[in-house]
Structures are given as C-alpha cells and as structure tokens.
C-alpha cells in the first residue's frame, strides 16, 4: 500500500533548482534508499515532504491525502517523522525529555504518558540512564536519541538523513540492525539517505538516485549501481 508519494515535485531557490520534477512512491514496510552526490537535493527532498520548506510546484500525497502545503507540525501529527543531518539535542532538556517532545506534541499525550512513551522508546533503542544530560551522550547514543525523537511522533513514514555519518563499523552495524528491527516491528516506511553504499546495500529494498535535483534512476541497489548514468553522476561528482 502506498504511504507517501510525490508527483513532479519541484523546488527552486532563487534560480537554482534543487529538486526537479521528482515523482516517487513509498510503500508500507519498505526501506527506501535515497542516494546521490553532495548537493544532489536529498536533504531538500526530505525537507519538502516533511513540510520544512514548501515546494515551488508539484504535489505530495500521504495516505491518499494532498499534503503539499500542509505545515510541518501537522504532517508530524499525521505520522511523518524525520531526523536531521545536523543533530541538535535540545539544551536544558534531559535525554528522556528530548524524546518526550514528539510524544507530547505530535501524539498529543499528557506529560506522564509522554514520559512513559519516551522511556519505552529509549529502552527499545538501547538507551539507558534516561535522565542524563544530552551533553554526556556518545555519538552512537546521540544518533539513537535522534531516531527515538522521530519515533516519538509515532510515525508511519520515517526519513533518516545520514544517521550513520561519524560512526565506526561496529556502531554502523548496530544501528543498521536497530533500524531494520524498528521498521519491521512498526511496519514503517523508511527513507534512508546515506553516502556509504555498503549501508544502502545492506539496509534498503530499493533506492532512488538524485542528481542535480533530478531523479535519474530507481530500483534495487544492485541494479541501480550498474546503471551507467548513476556511475557517471558519482564519478562526475567526485571529479
């Protein structure tokens, strides 16, 4: 069943077209890779579907409903969640309180219930000592907290923007397993942006490739990685 789809989605920043007529669809339970060279428009694409920026043209549908111009907080309440490439834990709030925010505002829970939800999420992700100051978290824990914060929205669609960046091999494996487990248990549709192709191969069912804002290829990773256009996009980006 299609959860989220876009049609000819276009985003222009004074002259620069960051996302150019992208059409895609994401199904329940699917883990979709979103790849492309630096500046391809991956983050912008996530910003568009999560409502952080409004598109110049095109259409976004969520569970059959047009959400193209819906504000971000309403999308969060409907079940779209995301993490950020640059993680910023909320200062003055403890680990569990950071996670509570989504439960309170996206799910509308009272403080007590929200706290229980957040504690459960922390446990699910293997975060202990939940009353800690966020300054004392390791990198892996910070990433997990970021995911827990997104899950606190009780989402049906989740976007992860480069969550693996900065992790070593063991930690990356740990996180891949965690994400897969969560996706299955919650029947989530997950969109994963990642530069490390090993992660994409291991984690995703299918990928879409963006280059200069355009969707240039789509399909299982092994197939897409042999696509000459994709290879050229990456080489061109590297050169």
């Amino acid at each position: 069943m299609t959860k989220l789809s876009t049609t000819d989605l276009l985003c222009r920043f004074s002259g620069l077209v960051a996302v150019n007529k992208v059409s895609f669809a994401m199904d329940e339970g699917e883990i979709l890779g979103i790849i492309g060279p630096n500046g391809a428009g991956k983050t912008t694409f996530i910003n568009l579907v999560s409502g952080i920026i409004m598109p110049t043209a095109g259409r976004i549908e969520y569970k059959g409903r047009d959400i193209t111009y819906l504000p971000a907080h309403e999308r969060a309440r409907m079940g779209i969640a995301r993490t950020y490439q640059l993680i910023h834990p909320l200062e003055n709030l403890s680990l569990v309180e950071n996670v509570m925010v989504g439960a309170i505002f996206a799910q509308g829970q009272g403080l007590k219930t929200a706290r229980r939800t957040a504690e459960e999420l922390c446990e699910e992700l293997g975060l202990s000592d939940v009353d800690r100051d966020t300054a004392r978290l390791s990198i892996l824990e910070t990433k997990k907290m970021e995911i827990a914060r997104a899950l606190a929205n009780d989402p049906e669609v989740l976007f992860l923007d480069e969550v693996m960046a900065g992790l070593n091999a063991d930690e990356t494996h740990d996180l891949i397993a965690t994400i897969r487990r969560i996706a299955v248990e919650r029947r989530l549709a997950v969109g994963v942006v990642e530069h490390v192709m090993g992660v994409i191969r291991e984690l995703t069912h299918r990928v879409i490739v963006l280059e200069a804002g355009e969707l240039i290829a789509e399909g299982p990773y092994d197939e897409v990685s042999r696509n000459p256009r994709v290879i050229e996009a990456y080489l061109g980006g590297a050169a």
């Binding site: 004074s14 002259g15 620069l16």
Partner: protein, 320 residues
C-alpha cells in the same frame, strides 16, 4: 559553490528591485507634494539627510560586522557632548570640530569594540543585542551623571540661513546633512570597492571563515569597520550640534530610526538607506505641516518600520 553564487545573485537582484521600488515611490510622492506644499519638500529632504547620514554607518556595521548596534545614536550623542565642551573651552565653531570629533569617536569605538563587542561576536545574536543595549544605557547614564539632564545648545547665526522664493521662506542650512549623507554613501562605496582594507572588510562580511583562511585578520577588519562607522557618526555628532540642543537621551531615537531605515533598505544596501530616509523624512514633514496631524508625525516611523519589516518577513516565509 555555484549554488551560493546563484543565491547571492538572486538576493542582489531582489535588493535592486526593492531599491528601485522605494526610489520610485519616493519620487512620485515628492512630485505630488512639491506641487502642493513646497516647504514640506524642503524640510523633508533635510530631515531625510539627517536620518540617512546617521543610519548609513549603522548599515555599514550591520552589513559587515553583523551586529545591531543599539548604542549607535548614543555614540553620536557622546560626540556631540565632546564637541560642545571642546567648543566652549576653545571658543571655536562646531564645524571645525567635525574631524576631531570623528577621530575621538572612532577611537572610543575601537576601544569599546575591543573590550566588549569583539568578545561577544561568537555569542548568540541576542547576547550581542543585549550587550549593545547595555552600552547604550551606560553611555547615556555617564553623560547624565557628568552633565545632568540639562540641555545644551550652541547658538549659531548661519543655521538660520534661508532663501525666499515667492511667498515661501526656505531654510537651507540642514542641506549640510544631505551633502554629508551623499558623501558617506559615495565614499563608503569607493572605500569598499577600491581599497584593500575595504575589499577585505567586504570579504570578511560575506564569509568570515573563508576570509580568515586566506589570511585576513577578521577581528581587525571588524574593529576597523566599527571604528570607521563611529568616525562617521562622530562627525555627525558635531554637525548635529550646530542645529540641535543636546541632552543625554538625544541619541536614542536615532538608534531606532537608523535601524528602521537599514531594515527598510535591506541589510547591505547602503544606497537604499537614502531612499528610505527620503520616504521617512517626507512623510514626517508632511504630517508636521498640518496642525491636526502634527503630533502624529513621530508615529510615522513606527508604522513604517512595522509595515516594512512585516512585509519583508512575509515574503521571506513564502520563499522558504
């Protein structure tokens, strides 16, 4: 990289468009009023010159150091006081004090920058705002302690110079402010585009980290720009004294009005400040021209600032 340049270009065009619109509006209003109330034009332009000459240095600081200096008008006030007492002691005309006042204020600005603002450059923007607010209070109160709230004025004959045309009398002295404003705008443009120090300052303003990498001393550039801006404001302090009485709070409205004008023009757009000043000066003088509306002239500025800032922010949001 390409994206960034593109963005800048877009911004630049938007700035130009805004300046053009402001200029066109001002011109249209000017012609209409000129036909109907010629004194309003005369007073309005002079007023505009005063506003612009004070606002341009603030625009310079905001554009390059990225600091809203809430003590801006207060520095002018201090310069005016210094000029007053120097002139009293030496029996000289404030006009001769313009350059010394500029030098003294620049030095003061440099010291204040080094001691305070420079330390807060990396702090959140709001800390800087509060810091300069504190500096404004400190300056006002120091003057208040030293000279009480009494007003001081130097009576000068030439400030009442005027020209009679038909049945109207047009005072002309304040055109010195207009000349100063234009001089500032042109001079700054030349400084920022032609001199090494100016080019370095522009580079620092656009990208401090990049400028540091290519070996520009960022803090020195900031300090220089700040001191330069204060030199310009200091000179205005001496000129201001020719025309007006001074008291400790005399500078504070100019801080706000300057910020309003800079915001109207768009940060980094110095010629735009001239246009915005004309709009403000003319509207104020228009209201002053009628007894019923005279008292409301001071409010024009608030209406303008709110309208312009809001209008701008709405269009920003749409773009985002």
């Amino acid at each position: 990289m390409a994206a960034k340049q593109n963005g800048n270009k877009g911004k630049h065009m938007a700035l130009k468009r805004r300046t053009a619109i402001l200029a066109a509006l001002a011109a249209a209003a000017t012609v209409l009023i000129l036909l109907w109330k010629p004194t309003v034009i005369n007073n309005g332009l002079q007023q505009a010159g005063l506003y612009a000459a004070i606002a341009i240095p603030m625009g310079l600081v905001l554009g390059i150091v990225h600091i809203v200096n809430l003590a801006h008008g207060e520095f002018m006030m201090v310069a005016a006081y210094a000029t007053y007492f120097a002139c009293k002691a030496l029996g000289m005309d404030p006009l001769f004090a313009v350059l010394p006042a500029a030098a003294v204020t620049a030095l003061l600005g440099w010291v204040v920058f080094r001691l305070t603002i420079q330390r807060a450059l990396k702090a959140p923007e709001l800390n800087q705002l509060i810091l300069t607010f504190g500096i404004a209070i400190a300056l006002t109160q120091v003057v208040n302690i030293l000279f009480t709230s009494q007003t001081y004025k130097i009576p000068l004959e030439y400030v009442s110079a005027s020209i009679d045309i038909g049945e109207n009398t047009f005072p002309v002295w304040s055109y010195v402010f207009v000349a100063t404003a234009i001089l500032y705008a042109v001079g700054l443009r030349l400084f920022l585009t032609r001199t090494t120090a100016g080019k370095a300052a522009v580079a620092v303003g656009q990208n401090p980290r990049g400028a540091a990498i290519v070996g520009i001393d960022v803090n020195r550039s900031y300090g220089l720009v700040f001191a330069l801006a204060l030199a310009l404001v200091g000179a205005m302090g001496a000129l201001f004294l020719t025309k007006s009485a001074i008291f400790p709070q005399v500078g504070s409205p100019y801080t706000m009005k300057s910020f309003c004008l800079v915001a109207m023009a768009g940060i980094g757009n110095i010629p735009g400040i001239l246009g915005a000043s004309v709009l403000l000066g003319l509207s104020e003088q228009l209201l002053r021209a009628f007894r019923e509306t005279r008292a409301w002239a001071d409010i024009v500025f608030f209406v303008l600032i709110i309208a312009v800032i809001l209008g701008r922010s709405v269009s920003w949001r749409r773009k985002k």
